[in-house]
């Protein structure tokens, strides 16, 4: 099936099988490998991207469902080579260890800050319920998001 998707501002058109998951379209066809796959059960959030501005798990969407939509991945967050405040926050506050969960954490946090620019610590932790990190214990992730919230 033919799909047309705008990814990080660039229009793409491809033939995909209906069963192709959006995450595989992004990683394997477009070679945008910043979006990760961490589970088979829709539970880890490593694959989080924005679909028409909303955080979604790209492992639980078919590429055909994104036809006509705008997608933003972690690669599309920086502008003109300047890191997004969230990317800077994760750097400054040591919000990652292995980094596997980081793209998903940042995309979920970006959705949160859009709706709630000054979240409390409890609101940040609640917003991250769909993102699992096996390394950090979350503490520095929360600090990284607070850093971005202050800068934005």
């Amino acid at each position: 099936m033919k799909i047309n998707v705008k990814v990080n501002g660039t229009a793409h058109s491809h033939d995909v099988e209906p069963r192709t998951l959006l995450v595989h379209y992004l990683r394997d066809t477009l070679r945008l490998t910043g979006t990760h796959v961490g589970c088979d059960t829709s539970g880890c959030g490593a694959c989080t991207i924005h679909l028409d501005g909303k955080a979604v798990k790209s492992c639980t969407l078919l590429a055909v469902q994104a036809d006509g939509c705008e997608v933003t991945t972690i690669e599309g967050l920086a502008t003109n080579g300047n890191l997004h405040p969230l990317q800077e926050g994760f750097h400054q506050e040591h919000g990652l260890q292995c980094g596997f969960c980081t793209p998903g954490m940042i995309m979920t946090a970006a959705d949160l800050l859009k709706h709630n620019p000054k979240p409390s610590e409890a609101e940040i932790r609640h917003a991250l319920e769909g993102n699992i990190c096996r390394c950090t214990g979350y503490h520095n992730i929360v600090k990284s998001i607070q850093y971005a919230s202050e800068k934005m």
């Binding site: 209906p18 069963r19 998951l21 595989h24 539970g43 909303k54 798990k57 078919l62 979920t108 917003a127």
Partner: protein, 275 residues
Amino acid sequence: MIPSSFTYQKVKSVEEAIAALKESDSKILAGGHSLIPTMKLRLNSPAKLIDIGGISALKGIKESGSEIVIGAATTHAEIASSKVIQGKLNLFAQTASAIGDIQVRNRGTIGGSLAHADPAADWPAAVLAADATIAVQGAKGSRKIKASEFFQGLFTTALQEGEVITAVHVPVFSGKSVYMKFPQPASRYAIVGCAVVKHSDGKISIAYTGVSSNAFRDGAAEKAISGKKIDAGSAEVASKAAAEGMHIMSDHYASEKYRKHLAKVYLKRALLAVA
């Protein structure tokens, strides 16, 4: 994991969806957040998916007389953030925001959740406690099913083959309401979820999800609290009747005994919250 192959049709109207459902082994795709995970694990391999995500008539929330009508393809996030729902049907705002996580709420729909009828889903408790009706349409026409007649067993509903849920009709009530759940820590599905509505005339409705193979209204607990002023004493008495006579689920998250205990604890908390 990748699902086995299927064909895909995006439909523009409910009529088109009903016509497409006549093809054998075809299934509706709404938010896909129950269906796609099972297809990835190959627990489900439909030959065809009919995507209703583009039918605008199935989306949105409107007030119609003494009812609020929620389109079947409205997402949990849209319901949670709706001003109409927050102002007039807070039980539904509360339930919607208790589902899964942000990403799940951005895709999953109320119609999909009701049709799927997961024993641990949140919506069934809210629609039961609010005396909602579920509007469905099929090749033979439209009908409305009372929430109390909709959930019939494990993943089993009154929906017949070829029928599509179009909307949920909720009578606006005055009074207090609450939805409380003990979530499974990873998925956030309800191990026990309890919805309570205290109508302004004093009538109390109690519904559970997560406890048995399908969500249910707890008539025995309703009777135990009916006509009484809610306080710690009467809530304690009512909680003794909670889920009495029901078959209680037991799984690796919670044993039968623990679930029943949780059902009592959550009823007490919910009753005191609407006191």
